[in-house]
Symmetry: C2
Subunit: 148 residues, 2 copies
DNA sequence: TTGCGTGCAAAGGTTTTGCATGGCA
DNA sequence: TGCCATGCAAAACCTTTGCACGCAA
């Protein structure tokens, strides 16, 4: 983790937004819109640069792109150890589930022993439907609608 | 699976390339370069359209983007059932391993029962290092070099 | 002949880079 | 004051779309 850098109004608000949405991923565009709504418009360049920095510092996970969309980012607790477990993301509402249970060890072990493959959790995403979005559940899809 | 469409020289060669590389993913750019090397240059538009068609027909799996790169595609056997198992991709050489063993059921079941999550294999990729590319192995990295 | 495939040009979108300015420490 | 952060403009990419023409069946 490198040094903190300056604390500016923009960065503070972006970080707040990331932390509020730590249970799912957000895109650069969404951050931009949010900042605009806050009457604190920020250039996309600034967002990209700040996010790159945060990712290098390990405070952010970057996903190449969710199902054909563009890159998305997710805040991670500094000590959450997101490198040790896989992540499930709901394709409907965007929620991210951290698979940090005992079973994670079994997966890594099986893949290692049976397939000779050394798992790398950072950047790996398993898609599907979360509890709330599965058919038959009452649909909690507000988040999904917001996305476009 | 929809109808076959016309058989043209370009399509034949693109399909051959996809099948030759069925053990890993390829990008539109790589296909373009390959076609150029074959003295059979094809417009990128054509590649995109053909790939879209193949994906709709289920002969191709499309990945949103591998580790920050752009979309990549992989040929799948018509009856390979790639919707039923996850895929491991080596970040070094690009090889893809089909996780179509008994353990796949355990993963899906655990994720379902413990996390209420309905797995969706298509598009999900787990990254890591394959047998040949793991440190300590003799490095088979020709493929990795080709990529850039 | 008919309809699909292809190339070209252009557009839309995301992300990056250079440069000058402004602001935090 | 000295960096670092920011905005702006421009560029580099990736991908899609419209249109006209060519070619397979």
């Amino acid at each position: 983790m490198t040094k903190q850098g300056y604390r500016t109004n923009s960065r503070t608000k972006i970080m707040e937004f990331l932390q509020e949405n730590r249970n799912k991923t957000v895109t650069v565009r969404e951050i931009g819109i949010h900042m605009h709504d806050l009457d604190c418009p920020v250039n996309v360049t600034t967002i990209y640069r700040y996010l790159d920095k945060l990712e290098k510092d390990g405070q952010l996970m970057k996903y190449a792109g969710e199902k054909g969309e563009k890159a998305s980012y997710q805040y991670v607790e500094p000590d959450q150890g997101c490198d040790d477990h896989l992540h499930l993301q709901c394709v409907s509402c965007g929620a991210v589930i951290h698979l940090d249970c005992h079973f994670m060890d079994e997966i890594a072990e099986h893949i290692d022993r049976e397939h000779g493959f050394d798992l790398q959790c950072r950047g790996s995403v398993i898609y599907g439907l979360c509890q709330n979005c599965r058919p038959g559940q009452r649909a909690h899809r507000q988040a999904a609608e917001v996305k476009k």
